[in-house]
Each structure stands twice: as C-alpha cells, then as structure tokens.
Symmetry: C2
Subunit: 156 residues, 2 copies
C-alpha cells in the first residue's frame, strides 16, 4: 500500500464512524513497516468522551498492540490536520511523520474549532474560555522533588 | 472541601501513582457541585499509553460517570500546568476553570518537555520533531461536505 491508500483507509474509517453517528468526519490510521496496525474514527458522541478523537484513539490502540508508549517507528495518517490535543499526543507518542488531509481552517468551516484552541495557545485568541489559577505550587514542587530523587523510575 | 483540599487530593493521587511506578508525578481531580467526581494519576508507564496523562484520564472518567462529553459544570485541579494535549482536552470538555500547581517550566526542569510542544505550536521551537505533509485534501473535503449535509447529527 502507498501513502494515498493509507489516507483512503483513514477516510473510509471516518465515513464509517460518521454514518454510525459515533462522531465527526475524522479518521486516522497508524502505519508501521508498511502495515496498518491501528485505525480509528472519532467516537466523541458514542463514547461520551471528549478526548476520543481519531488520532488519540489510534495512538492508544497502536500502543496497546505494541505494548509500548514509544511509537517512533510509526507514521500517522489523519483526515484532518490534528487539533492541539492530537498534535501534542503525536509528539508524546514520538511519532515522527504525520500526513493529513483537510486543514484546521477546513475543520473550523464545518464547526470544529481546533483553530480557536490553537489561537489560545498562541496568545492570539480574543476571548478566553478556560480560566486558570495557580495554587499550591509549593506542595506540587515537593512532589516533583520526590520524582527527581526517586531511584527506580522509568523516564519517558 | 475547599480549593486547597482538592489540590491536596490531586497531590495524593499523583504520589500514589508515582510510588506504584504507573507514571510521572502528575495527578488531577474533577470537581462538580463541590464533590470530587473523578481522580486520576499519570499512567503512561503502566498502561503503555502516551495519552494517559492525569487530566485526560480524569476527563475520560468524569465523562463516563456523567454520561456526557460536556463537562462545563465541572472544575479541574491538576498538580501541573497542563501540556498542550491536556489543555486542549480541557477545552474540548468545555471545563471553564482550571487550577494547577507546578508550572510547565517546573515540569521541564524534571524532564517533561511540555514546554517544547508549546514552543512548536507557537512557532518558537528551534527544531522540529514531527514532520507533517498534507495529502489527499480533496478526498477529505468530500467527507467534510458529507458531514455538512448530514441531516441527523449531534453537533459538539
């Protein structure tokens, strides 16, 4: 299979999820050594889980399958430019290559405001939807110190 | 319970997870009507899931408990300023209030590079870890068009 065919699989998966009313028109596949090892579609509606975006689900499935949180030998194909949640998830998974179909502007135009969250992170949003307050930093720093001094730990 | 006590619960949860080697020193709780309805700690190591950050898990659990993806009547407490994945997840969950302990600079100083991903999104990173390529936008736009024209759908 080639790149176009992997993306076609992601589209097929997205259409399937949309038809089942699982969520929006988003699909993703993860490819390792030329084979699709995980595919997923948005399941926000059916699972009541706001984090159940296609890319996050594909990463979870691929990690589970491989039994490791490091997917640096995998590529991801997504029908849409990932939102910041999924984009960061791809970083945490150490995936190095991402192919996407529609842009975040295309997503905004059908009602998915990934772009708004990007604007917030970039300090370009005109309004604020989440109000953040720092509290108890001292107690949390103690925790961080304990991690730093912990002898048996897996770094990731 | 008051704000400080909710954060102390998040710290307790984080310490518990760290001691069990489930993941890093991160905990979160979600509060609704003055009651903790979900608590979680980082489980990246134990679950092999790079998306299993405390805030994402807390959101998943709270959504499941309430049977809805809209958590706009909830507040979240996290031992650390959320990474972009969790920060975006909080937006998708429509949570309006976030309390955090340590900052992303504190996290970077013990080896968790949330800050790097923020820098990438802001266009301030000196290197690139994920290479992105747009492909097959036409086929994906067709899909978006189908969503737009779909009669029975849940908007979110």
């Amino acid at each position: 299979m080639n790149k176009d065919e992997y993306m076609e699989e992601a589209v097929k998966e997205a259409r399937n999820g949309m038809e089942k009313n699982d969520g929006g028109p988003f699909g993703a596949v993860i490819v390792k050594d030329g084979k699709i090892i995980a595919s997923s579609h948005n399941e926000v509606i059916s699972s009541y889980d706001p984090t159940a975006h296609a890319e996050v689900l594909a990463i979870r499935r691929a990690s589970k399958k491989l039994g490791r949180f490091d997917l640096s030998d995998c590529e991801i194909y997504s029908t849409c430019e990932p939102c910041p949640m999924c984009f960061a998830a791809i970083h945490w998974a150490k995936i190095k290559t991402l192919y996407f179909g529609c842009t975040k502007i295309d997503a905004a135009s059908i009602g998915f405001d990934d772009k708004f969250i990007y604007d917030v992170i970039r300090g370009e949003a005109k309004e604020q939807k989440v109000f953040t307050y720092p509290i108890q930093r001292d107690k949390c720093l103690t925790l961080f110190e304990e991690w730093k001094n912990k002898e048996e730990k897996t770094e990731y």
